[in-house]
């Protein structure tokens, strides 16, 4: 990241799928050349087809290709790329990668390695932002004795969590709702931690019940200007995987937006942040918000913010990396209407969201007013087990949340994908649920209170008629072709005809 204007002409995208395509599009619209990289299974991928250049970097497992810093830098040097965009995931939050780019004199389109590092270590991050006056989930420092802890518990307040210092995977973690339970819980937690990590040290943290996941998008240039683009509501999750996001949050009002925005800006400033980033908060029922972490990269759900602010976050990232000032000031940011994003995944919502791999044999994407599709695949592309099962992101804008919601229903009904199962029925169900429509949901909603029931609009008898007519039709045709092949000469003209259609 330069602090004097850097003019670059060619950008290597160290990623794949929809986000690689998204970045390639931004580059094309800025007149920049692009270099795509691909693994064996991605040879035909959309990001390869849409890029001006494409280079093979190894076998499907990410560690051998998309996570290989050496290979990617080698391609960058070979092609004379003067910048690298990491997208999200893979190498996006690896300080060593950002540093390696700098060493090679290649602009890294993202924050400085130091900022990535500081926010990457959760304990450091917690300390740093707290020092900057950013509220964090209340709790104790580490390593207190039992007596101290039982006292501290009173201050932290119930319900609370006892967490193992060396913790992870819930081991040595206990939820305590009642002071009377505290002592037993503490001992069993220590025992479990001792057994699991050989270290019985624990600390206390307030338990945020029915919390919402709300995040603030920030933009910072290299001249100290930091602005926020409002919040995104990301509480629709399953196993910590976001499934649907919206902006603005139905839970956040203007005052709260301003306040959280200001806090997020402080968090970014605390690590001298420069580029686009997202500050995630946990928000409780009483609208208290607590810093969770800062993602030092582009988010999957950035389009909902782009829709309501009319800003292009990826172009802004490139602009910042070029050492230019932000294109807008905070006063020039206005939230217009509402946007919703549905992540369209190759998984079976009726079968415990089991991933569904295969080739997309046919696809019709929704179009028309207020609809945006960010896709990494087209008809003929495979969804492999090697990478995440996201097919695309469907984003809809409306002048009100209700309008965006109705438009999303329309778009989901238009979206046709064959060859594998998708979670579209889940989204259709969700958009029909009264609690979602009312905006009354938290991070536990999908797993605890939402049940995917039969789509009320199911028309099995219609499906039965259609399948029967198609079968009737096809068998007759098949029979004809075979008879022709066997008996008369015109047959293969049909064959040729079919070939053409296959190609078409």
């Amino acid at each position: 990241m330069a602090d004097t204007p850097t003019l670059f002409r060619k950008v290597l995208i160290a990623n794949r799928g929809e986000i690689a395509v998204r970045i390639i599009r931004a580059c094309r619209e800025l007149g920049l050349e692009t270099v795509a990289v691909y693994s064996d299974v991605d040879r035909n991928a959309m990001h390869v087809r849409y890029s001006s250049e494409a280079f093979y970097i190894g076998p499907p497992p990410a560690r051998d290709s998309y996570l290989s810093i050496e290979k990617i830098l080698e391609v960058a040097k070979h092609t004379g790329a003067d910048a690298i965009h990491p997208g999200y995931g893979f190498l996006a939050e690896r300080p060593d990668f950002a540093a390696a780019c700098e060493d090679e004199g290649i602009a890294f389109i993202g924050p400085a390695p130091t900022a990535i590092g500081a926010m990457g270590d959760k304990v450091t991050a917690r300390k740093t932002v707290e020092a900057a006056g950013v509220p964090i989930v209340p709790g104790t420092e580490l390593d207190l004795r039992d007596e101290e802890l039982s006292v501290a518990a009173g201050f932290v307040g119930y319900p609370l969590l006892i967490k193992a210092t060396a913790g992870g995977g819930g081991k040595g973690m206990r939820r305590v709702d009642d002071p009377d339970e505290f002592e037993n819980a503490l001992h069993s937690a220590r025992r479990e931690a001792e057994a699991a990590f050989g270290d019985g040290a624990v600390y206390l943290e307030k338990l945020i019940d029915g919390g919402r996941h709300i995040e603030i998008q920030v933009l910072a240039d290299c001249y100290g200007s930091v602005i926020h683009l409002g919040e995104r509501e990301c509480s629709i999750q399953r196993r910590h995987q976001k499934l649907l996001e919206e902006a603005p949050s139905p839970f956040v009002d203007e005052a709260m937006r301003e306040e959280m925005g200001a806090v997020a800006i402080r968090a970014a400033q605390s690590v001298n942040y420069c580029n686009a980033g997202t500050v995630e908060f946990l928000v409780d029922r009483d609208r208290n918000y607590y810093f969770l972490e800062m993602n030092t990269r582009l988010q999957v759900e950035h389009p909902v913010t782009e829709f309501v602010t009319n800003m292009d976050i990826v172009k802004e990232q490139i602009r910042i990396a070029r050492g230019r000032k932000l294109s807008r000031t905070q006063d020039e940011i206005e939230i217009t209407g509402a946007a919703i994003e549905c992540r369209i995944n190759a998984e079976d919502p009726y079968n415990n969201f089991l991933p569904s791999t295969g080739t997309i044999t046919a696809m019709t994407v929704p179009t028309g007013p207020g609809v945006r599709v960010d896709s990494g695949v087209t008809t003929g592309d495979p969804i492999t087990p090697y990478y995440d099962p996201m097919i695309s992101k469907l984003i809809c804008w409306g002048d009100t949340r209700g309008a965006a919601l109705l438009r999303m229903r329309r778009a989901l009904a238009e979206y046709k994908i064959m060859g594998l199962k998708t979670n579209i029925p889940f989204h259709q169900n969700l958009l029909d649920s009264t609690r979602f429509i009312a905006g009354q949901y938290d991070t536990t909603f999908i797993e605890e209170s939402f049940f995917l029931d039969e789509d009320p609009n199911l028309r099995p008898e219609i499906a039965a008629i259609i399948a029967t007519l198609a079968a009737h039709d096809q068998r007759r045709k098949a029979a004809q072709i075979v008879r022709r092949n066997g008996h008369d000469g015109q047959s293969n003209w049909k064959l040729a005809g079919r070939w053409q259609r296959m190609r078409g």
């Binding site: 046919a362 994908i417 789509d455 099995p460 219609i462 039965a464 259609i466 068998r475 029979a479 259609r501």
Partner: protein, 165 residues
């Protein structure tokens, strides 16, 4: 032509007359069915209500994407039902088993070759008669010992087509 159509346990009886009239569980329905180009996209008008669906055959069944919902449909015509019943009969797990033509017809496809291992239900031969195709499936697992027919052959009822051992 009569079809037994099953979606998630629910079975529908659908009849298509020579004139293309359709009965759903005995009730006449007015349908207008059209394929869009040569793709898997279809338009169906049922008493002027409009439905658009993508249809794809998959593993002998039919995938129908209708208004966002994907239906896995099993379409069985009378002959196929008869044949399935056959395949259903308990057959010895060992020794030879002759797969015979249940009716006179034309061999449309042979999906096995000598020496090939087959599992229960694997397609072995497609026999066409009266403009309809009928899949003959392996009634038990085994190895193909003999293949007596090839594509284009006309066969008599009960003629042995393939032998599994």
């Amino acid at each position: 032509m009569r079809y037994e159509v099953t979606i998630e346990g629910q079975t529908y009886l659908i009849e298509i007359s020579e004139q293309g009239h359709i009965k759903l569980d005995g009730r006449e329905v007015e349908v207008d069915f059209a394929q869009v180009g040569s793709s898997g996209l279809f338009s169906l008008l049922v008493d002027n209500e409009s439905f658009e669906a993508m249809v794809e055959p998959r593993e002998g069944r039919w995938q129908v994407l209708l208004r966002g919902d994907l239906y896995d449909v099993d379409v069985v015509d009378e002959r196929a039902r008869l044949l399935r019943a056959r395949a259903g009969l308990t057959v010895p797990d060992t020794g030879e088993f002759k797969i015979k033509a249940p009716m006179p017809g034309l061999v449309v496809a042979v999906s096995v070759e000598i020496g090939q291992e087959v599992a229960v239900g694997d397609n072995v031969v497609i026999l066409e008669s009266m403009k309809m195709e009928n899949e003959l499936k392996a009634p038990r697992k085994g190895q193909i010992k003999q293949v007596n027919v090839e594509v284009g052959d006309s066969v008599e009822k009960n003629q042995t087509l393939v032998i599994i051992e």
